[in-house]
């Protein structure tokens, strides 16, 4: 396993390195200037130059980039120009909220997908299949902002049983029951699309799996269909589902931007919007880099889990 990870690491690092420079250069190409937002419209040229030198923006791009990398390596993420405070704290605060939301949604989606696909395959009943397929198409077709609004309208406006948005006032650990209430609507909203896609994929893989000769053999030996699905087909169908899960996690993080806006959830989505519109270079860089890093790490993780579940990849090396 370690050897496999080691083999995959270089290409991931190359993508990260290219992305980090790309982001660094791109952020500085955005029209607008942090100096003018900081100094105000009436600042004298001398004052502006002083601020520019203070931020290190008068240096050549490559010098700035190398300095930034050095900072990152020392764990210093810089100071936000506009919001003030260290980038590390700002990002950490937002990240906690976003991660709680995304991971909850992912777990929900996984649970729903497992239950629904196994049910569909084990029962193999016309009505069950039709219902699941209809619900599935609907869940994929409903855009996130539509389900979010319908959920808020239903459970916060018409039947006011759940909060319409925000995070629990004292953090997630203080009152678990309250946290569940706050998490429920946004997490369901975020999980719906991913859950549906995952269910569709897993059901299809299970069906394919059940047409394999080993299943016929097992049936001939008198093992029940349910037992074959649970003990053998599921295990064989899981590796490719993990790949889809990895892709879905990326989609979830993107969707989180929107869900956070709908449910006024103070996560990374709002932070990134604020940072870009304020030309807050240090904050934007770290956030965009984080987004690419998450993507790369997920891809790596997916491949490793894939290899763990399927020995052929581990040994063959063709991943």
């Amino acid at each position: 396993m370690g050897a496999y990870l080691l083999r995959r690491l270089p290409s991931a690092l190359v993508v990260l390195a290219i992305a980090s420079f790309g982001i660094f250069a791109l952020v500085r190409m955005v029209p607008g200037d942090p100096v003018s937002t900081l100094a105000g419209p009436d600042a004298s040229p001398e004052a502006r130059a002083a601020i520019r030198a203070d931020l290190g923006l008068d240096q050549p791009l490559v010098t700035q980039y190398v300095a930034w990398l050095g900072q990152l390596a020392r764990g210093d993420f810089g100071t936000s120009y506009r919001i003030g405070g260290s980038v590390k704290d700002l990002v950490a605060d937002g990240a906690v909220n976003t991660i709680v939301l995304t991971v909850t949604a992912l777990l929900l989606a996984m649970a729903v997908a497992l239950v629904c696909s196994v049910l569909a395959v084990v029962l193999d009943n016309r009505w069950v299949n039709a219902t699941l397929s209809f619900g599935n198409t609907l869940a994929i077709a409903l855009p996130t902002f539509v389900t979010g609004l319908v959920l808020i309208l239903l459970f916060a406006v018409v039947f006011p049983v759940l909060p319409a948005g925000g995070t629990p006032p004292d953090g997630f650990l203080a009152r678990p029951d309250l946290s569940v209430q706050y998490l429920l609507l946004p997490a369901v909203c975020l999980a719906l699309g991913a859950g549906a896609a995952l269910t569709r994929f897993l059901t299809e893989s299970l069906r394919t799996e059940l047409r394999q000769p080993y299943v016929t053999t097992a049936r001939a030996l008198g093992i029940s269909r349910r037992r074959i699905v649970l003990t053998q087909a599921l295990r064989n169908a899981l590796p490719s589902a993990v790949t889809v899960l990895g892709i879905q996690f990326g989609t979830l993080l993107g969707g989180a931007v929107l869900v956070e806006a709908i449910f006024t959830w103070p996560g990374l989505g709002g932070l990134i919007e604020e940072a870009i519109s304020g030309r807050d270079y240090p904050l934007v860089q770290v956030l965009l880099l984080l987004s690419v890093m998450v993507f790369v790490v997920i891809q790596l993780f997916t491949d490793v889990i894939h290899a763990w579940l399927d020995p052929r990849i581990r040994i063959g090396g063709a991943a």
Partner: protein, 297 residues
Amino acid sequence: MSESLIDIAAPEAGSPGSPDDQFDHRRRPGIWTALRRGKGLAGLILIGVVVALGLLAPVLAPHSATEQIPGANLVGPSGAHWFGTDEVNRDIFSRTLYGIRTDLIVVFLAVPIGAAIGILVGLISSWWTFTDVVAQRLFDLVLAFPTLILAIALTAFVGPGLRTVFFVIVAVELPVFGRLTRTSVRTVREMPYVEAAHVVGAGSLWQLRRHVLPNSMEPLLVQLAVSMSVAVFVEGAMSFLGLGVRPPQPSLGSLIRDGVRNMYDAPFFAVGPLALVVALVLGLLLVSQALAEARRA
């Protein structure tokens, strides 16, 4: 295992030249008949209704998109105003009909443009190893960003507006189609008949046009339908975040956002636009599913 994943992108091997194909040399039947029944037909009807409503907006709408009607402020649905009126006295039904047009531009113009460029880049770059590697890494990089984060970043360059939505859609779809085309090219060029064409002296361009492109058509069509439904979603999401069309121009997404702003005073506001968004996305999704099923059959 992963066959099903590969299958999505791999073109149908060896379909030209099969006995059923003798009378139709262009394309094997099946994929188009899928649109004449069941899911495909239902999807086409849904799309058709929404498109017709949008195209006929000047005829059907009782008011213009920006006309302010004196004395009608946030009134509920009635015979005069089917969807009610908004906070500055505009007829929501009329705005919704005109708003569809914005989405139609995004779906039927931006997506095909992004797809066309992506297919072209995919076809040409994948023919040589060097350009192939460069193009694939670039595609990877773009795909590494979640769509909405890309949208927010791009808005910083060009400001909010329909143009930005257009750019985002093109930027997101280009690598998707580029990569799909690349998979097809890689598969098809290994086929004996392409090799044979090469041997008898066919040029790269001729091979691409005559063999590779027609054989990549079906997966690309399925992806086109999927991408179009995603485009409706992206337009809505961007308008929702305030990155989309600028007021007073309506779009389905911006109407939904206005509806949310007035949710407590006028819960009826967003219902019409919401229903249309769902109809359009559902229609495109049904078509894509029907096409995909016909391909697999």
